[in-house]
Symmetry: C2
Subunit: 202 residues, 2 copies
């Protein structure tokens, strides 16, 4: 990309470009390795310009993680028209693929979010809550009835636990060599476990 | 306790006493608040003596967390003679009570272990693996058959996910005001969810 093309970008386009590069860097790097220096090299722009968008490394990390969470939320959105079990399986497929293709970054993100960083934890918790809430968006429809979804407080607690289970199982599976399950078996399990858990929720 | 009684302690007894005080401090304090200074006050001994047992704060934290993990493992041990479902429920009851009575400390421990501290993460992962392995100790018995336990790699992955689910659900439940489930309902759910998940594991 030539300098003249770059300078024609609007600020919102430039910011989106930088975040996209940041998200891509997370594929095979941990959050702790993402620096403004590295971003400048990858984006082919000056550090001075980057500091215009992200005042410091922490602000850059938070923005990248927030934008990755939005990406993940969009990628795992239910696709119409589909039977509710198929929808759930398609969402889990998008989730598993995301984790598999961003394993180093995702692991470092989970660790940073669970660790001392309050701001990252906030972004992570929000993203997780949005994914859990979406499970219950269909309450009242025939599909929700078929899955046994009522949206009761007990079911919401169970679904929150289910999301922690999915994260653990997917991260462990993605790190296994050789893998104990095929991708199809993993997806069957993740999608099948939600109705199984709701069935035993009080 | 008088100084003369204290000085009669053997080194292993003294160390155990200090760890017990450390574990107790975790009930309503986070790991980051546990200092050698505070331990000296609570134990009523000099800081000099403490540095004999724990060269620095990090070593003290690791020792306290390791000893808390051993405590939790012992407390949640299956009790004979009991039907396997009752055993599982009794283990979960001990786990829930432990988390409830050490909520601040347990939360801070999970965060420290998931965060950047490699040594604490090691202790935490080991403790978790031991709890998951124990689920499969009974494989081959009639009780294990009744729960559907085979010990296959797929089941071990599912049980690891189940343990993450139990941790999340218990921590969320213990933090709720008002609580969405009674303690009995929570225990029914946690104990009932393992066979439910094993039933859908490939």
């Amino acid at each position: 990309m030539s300098a003249s093309v770059r300078t024609r970008m609007r600020p919102d386009q430039r910011r989106e470009q930088l975040l996209a590069i940041g998200r891509g860097m997370l594929a095979d790097r941990g959050l702790e390795e993402l620096s403004i220096d590295l971003l400048a090299v990858e984006a082919g722009v000056s550090k001075g310009l980057l500091y215009h968008y992200f005042p410091n490394k922490q602000a850059f990390h938070t923005a990248v993680v927030r934008s990755a969470a939005e990406d993940l939320f969009a990628m795992t959105a239910p696709r119409e028209p589909m039977d509710p079990r198929e929808q759930l399986r398609a969402s889990m497929a998008a989730y598993v693929d995301y984790v598999e293709h961003h394993l180093t970054g995702y692991l470092s993100l989970v660790r940073a979010a669970s660790g001392g960083n309050e701001e990252l934890r906030g972004v992570y918790e929000e993203g997780r809550a949005a994914l859990v809430d979406r499970v219950f968006e269909s309450v009242g429809t025939e599909g929700a009835h078929e899955l046994g979804l009522t949206g009761s407080p007990a079911q919401r607690l169970a679904a929150s636990g289910w999301s922690a289970m999915c994260e653990r199982v997917t991260l462990e599976w993605a790190s296994q060599r050789p893998r104990s399950l095929t991708r199809e078996q993993l997806l069957d399990y993740l999608a099948g476990s939600l109705p199984a858990l709701l069935a035993v929720a009080p």
